[in-house]
């Protein structure tokens, strides 16, 4: 891990990133004055260590102490072909989901960056809206869509084919999981795409490359860092999934995450659960390491720059493949099918609509007449809307909003500081360990973390308090903030800071006046991520919620698993409408300010 994170600290294309060697060692003394940024990581490191690492480490100790001291849990896990199959399946499903997310995410991200305001707005809403719907409810939507009587099978039957059993097979898990992972793929992709220079594509065109070929040979490689970052993120996140496989996978689509979940929740078998968690963590680590060995990228290097590192990997890995693909693309160009400017837009819009599909299942359900989640509903009523506006739902909503806002604030500040420390800092080992530590909460299954939080928070009276949930959520949101802001920083030319410095700006002023405004889009994205991470988080909330504090996802969880209460659909509709409203308003505002500026 240290090796891979090490690259984070060196910005290979910045002129003063001296490679280590005797030279930089002799100059060690004078480098000290620029070390200030390194301190930026300290608060985040403290929080992650105390709130996350410590409880989880204590919990993981149980893998060798429960039920008795020894490796029993590991021999049970690895000696049992069922568990081994489960591990393999977990990897395959996560990889497949990542791939699907990439195939869907790339065209969408492309239009989000290069398309017009409205298309961009629509796509953003399409991507974010599902994120605002509880994962539990989304899984139900997929059950409907992919089910025996669902629209997909209806369509298949239209063609006179046999319906396909998708629910309770890995297919449903992959579909649903990739849908869930999509935003994680799109955000780093879009960030990288934004940094691709227009003139490069023009150059490719002027040199005779048709649209498809220019795309394959120039655009694609330039966005490779985004692809890699998004893929690692999705893969790692996918591997720890448990709700989706538990609901949609059946025994053939079960994953390690659901195993851990059931071991804890049903059997209280912390020993097996933490052993499985360690195996999962090791798995993630190995895969990420192998990936990085092949690509020369670090996990946190989410976007931004196509430096020599990325380039060399491109040569080693995909140079020939790209050439071949380029030739195929050239064929398409000659046929003329790639000339249309509208086609990619239509494609992206269609994909966006597809991404929204599960949301449309939710709307009719919210008007159901009976207390059951059935699609289509047997009858219609607005009673669940009435129920939504009662304390039973509004109180959890208020708690969630409040918690999410605090999490956004705290994680935003800590993550940004840490990113500054790592990207602009100079102490190599420190930066490497900071970034590794920052990513840990992402790499480790949340169920296990939740149990760890619960045990340790119990000791100090943090369970059933908003502070406890906020602290736990901060550690879960930090990886996103950290990596998104790091990416933004990495793509920021350091010359601006130099210029500011030469004009007399101290480091804090540089940060405030230059760096933060310039990476504002990244910070906003990171903030949004932090907010949604907390707002949508159910695992930890289920553990840490109690009599006094109950978050919305916890309430939704109850409504689904205990009550099958259609009000969960109302809340999804409500949140969706809010989000769409905010986005439309924002787009309108931007359009208005733009026209007014050009008029004046």
């Amino acid at each position: 891990m240290a090796g891979l994170a090490e690259r984070v600290t060196t910005t290979p294309t910045s002129p003063d990133a001296d490679p280590s060697g005797p030279a930089s060692r002799t100059a060690g003394g004078r480098r000290r004055r620029r070390r200030g940024w390194d301190l930026g990581g300290v608060p985040a490191v403290l929080v992650v260590t105390l709130v996350f690492v410590l409880p989880v480490a204590i919990l993981c100790l149980r893998s060798v102490t429960e039920p008795t001291f020894g490796l029993e849990n590991f021999t049970r896990l690895l000696g049992h072909s069922g568990y081994v199959d489960n591990i393999v399946r977990t990897i395959l499903i996560s990889a497949a989901s990542t791939f699907v997310a990439l195939i869907f995410g790339y065209p969408i991200a492309y239009q989000m960056v290069h398309g017009g305001t409205w298309l961009c707005t629509f796509l953003t809403v399409a991507i974010m809206a599902p994120y605002l719907t509880s994962i539990l409810l989304r899984s139900f939507s997929w059950l409907v869509i992919l089910g025996r009587q669902g629209p997909v099978n209806k369509l298949i039957e239209q063609f006179g084919l046999e319906p396909i059993a998708m629910v309770f097979t890995p297919i449903a898990v992959v579909v649903s999981l990739s849908h869930y992972l999509l935003p994680l793929m799109i955000l780093p992709l879009a960030a990288t795409m934004r940094s691709v220079d227009d003139s490069r594509m023009r150059a490719a065109t002027s040199l005779g490359a048709g649209p498809a070929q220019a795309f394959v040979r120039v655009y694609l490689p330039l966005t490779k860092p985004g692809i890699q970052a998004g893929s690692v993120l999705c893969f790692v996140y996918g591997i720890g999934a448990f709700v989706i496989p538990a609901l949609l996978g059946g025994s053939k689509g079960s994953m390690l995450g659901s195993l851990i979940h059931s071991a804890i929740k049903q059997s209280g078998d912390y020993g097996l659960a933490s052993a499985a968690a360690l195996v999962l963590g090791a798995l993630v680590l190995v895969i990420v390491l192998v990936f990085q060995r092949l690509t020369g990228m670090s996990t946190t290097e989410l976007a931004g720059r196509s430096g020599p590192t990325a380039t060399r990997s491109a040569k080693r890995g995909g140079g020939r493949a790209l050439r071949l693909a380029g030739r195929a693309a050239g064929g398409l160009d000659r046929l003329g099918v790639t000339r249309s400017r509208r086609l990619p837009k239509v494609l992206a819009a269609a994909l966006g609509a597809l991404v929204l599909a599960p949301q449309f299942i939710v709307i009719p359900i919210s008007f159901a007449s009976t207390q059951a989640l059935i699609f289509p509903p047997v009858g219609y009523s607005t009673q669940w809307y009435a129920e939504f506006f009662t304390a039973s739902w509004l109180d959890p909503l208020a708690v969630s909003v409040r918690v999410a806002l605090f999490v956004t604030l705290i994680a935003g500040v800590l993550g940004t500081l840490a990113a500054m420390g790592v990207v602009r800092g100079t102490v190599r080992g420190w930066g490497a360990s900071t970034s590794t530590l920052m990513m840990l909460p992402l790499l480790f299954p949340t169920v296990v973390a939740a149990a760890g939080f619960y045990v340790e928070f119990e000791r100090i009276g943090l369970v059933d308090t908003e502070l406890g949930i906020v602290l736990a959520h901060v550690t879960l949101a930090l990886p996103f903030v950290f990596s998104v802001v790091s990416a933004g920083l990495r793509s920021l030319n350091p010359v601006y800071e130099r210029a500011a410095s030469s004009l007399g700006a101290r480091r804090t002023v540089q940060l405030r006046r230059i760096v933060l405004p310039l990476i504002a889009p990244s910070i906003l994205t990171a903030g949004l991520f932090a907010f949604l991470t907390s707002f949508d988080e159910s695992t930890v909330a289920i553990f840490l919620s109690g009599v006094h504090v109950k978050t919305l996802p916890k309430r939704i969880f109850e409504a689904l698993s205990l009550e099958t209460n259609p009000t969960v659909a109302v809340i999804s509709v409500f949140v969706m409408v809010c989000a769409a409203g905010i986005w439309l308003g924002y787009a309108l505002f931007r359009r208005l300010t733009q026209t007014s500026r050009s008029n004046s």
Partner: protein
């Protein structure tokens, strides 16, 4: 007008941006095989003109025809135009060699041909040693050399260059100027060259279009523009000029602001609204204070206020009571000139070397 290979016509081409007109009613013809330079101050619309030709920007109105064909619907990858971009636009993920090979690969050249032509292009720009570097590992000037090499390596029918030599040191620039010019003549490509360096424009071009505020001020051979400028702007932009605010006094005579009288050649056809007169520093000779000049010459006296040593010549600034400051350029034919600062000297020039314009001099 013509169907010969490589001719370019702009007809009433106009390009507007939200808040300004970048190119305004541009009509011009570039002959096949011509070295055509678009010269002009910063922001005058040179890059915009080039980008429309290359197909990266669509004109707001007007048509651009190449060999008689309206290229509005020809995608830029089909235009077979070599472009050197102002900001290089090298592919950062490809080595220098791969950057150069790219256009050849697009054209499906055999491997062997590619290797050979890339090698030749690298040598042309003196960068063979850097073939395996990535663009990020090159200095600004090195990058530009690679960009030039990449644009010529596939023998395009047209070459568009947007200040390709801007970041180079003069030595290399001069060498590349000669080489670009030779290359262009050897390949008989039509070259459209953008620069703001009038010296470069003069030494390379068959014809120059001098732009200002999106319009062509004057178009013609370097000599036409230098010796017969049609406006004060042109006279001032090309080379150095002494510009005097004047008004007509008598036929063939202008009175200068400070009181001096300027004779002009009658043949020059002094406009009635004559307001600016220009004399080039190299056309003025310093003399000891002497008698009246021979016929066809004007003269005045003044005191040397400034001497600027410039290697091959010295630029004197002489303050004349009647004409104000006058710059005089003297080549160092034989080392030193005898004239020192604060010395009083005479200046002498031919009346036919005085250019007169109707409009006010600009910037």
């Amino acid at each position: 007008m013509t169907s010969s290979h490589g001719a370019i016509h702009f007809d009433n081409v106009r390009k507007e941006y939200a808040d300004q007109v970048a190119v305004d009613d541009l009509t011009l013809t570039i002959e096949p095989g011509e070295f055509f330079t678009v010269l002009g101050p910063s922001g005058s619309g040179k890059t915009t003109t080039l980008m429309m030709l290359a197909g990266f920007t669509d004109p707001t109105s007007g048509t651009i025809r190449v060999d008689g064909i309206d290229i509005a619907h020809v995608p830029s990858d089909k235009r077979n135009i070599g472009v050197v971009f102002q900001d290089y636009a090298l592919f950062p993920h490809m080595s220098v060699r791969d950057n150069l090979a790219f256009p050849l690969e697009m054209r499906k050249e055999p491997r062997k041909v590619i290797v050979e032509r890339v090698e030749r292009a690298l040598e042309l720009v003196d960068m063979a040693a850097a073939a395996d570097r990535l663009p990020d590992q090159l200095s600004g000037g090195q990058k530009q050399r690679i960009a030039v090499a990449r644009a010529v390596v596939f023998d395009p029918a047209f070459l568009l260059m947007d200040e390709p030599l801007g970041a180079l040191d003069r030595k290399l620039r001069q060498r590349l100027q000669v080489e670009l010019r030779q290359l262009q003549q050897a390949l008989k490509v039509t070259m459209v060259y953008v620069t703001h360096d009038q010296e470069e424009a003069m030494s390379m071009s068959d014809r120059i279009a001098l732009m200002n505020h999106g319009r062509i001020e004057q178009m013609g051979t370097p000599r036409e523009l230098y010796e017969h400028p049609r406006s004060a702007f042109v006279a001032d932009f090309l080379g150095t000029n002494n510009m005097f605010a004047v008004r007509p006094e008598a036929p063939g005579r202008l009175s200068v602001e400070n009181g001096g009288l300027l004779s002009v050649d009658d043949g020059g056809g002094v406009p009635a609204d004559a307001s600016v007169a220009a004399v080039r520093p190299e056309r003025i000779a310093l003399t000891d204070i002497a008698a009246a000049p021979p016929p066809g010459f004007s003269h005045c006296t003044g005191k040397i206020t400034h001497r600027l040593y410039l290697g091959s010549h010295t630029m004197y600034t002489v303050h004349s009571e009647t004409f104000g400051p006058v710059r005089v350029q003297m080549q160092h034919d034989d080392g030193e000139h005898p004239y020192r600062t604060a010395e009083t000297v005479g200046m002498i020039w031919r009346t036919r070397d005085v250019n007169v314009f109707g409009s006010t001099a600009e910037g």
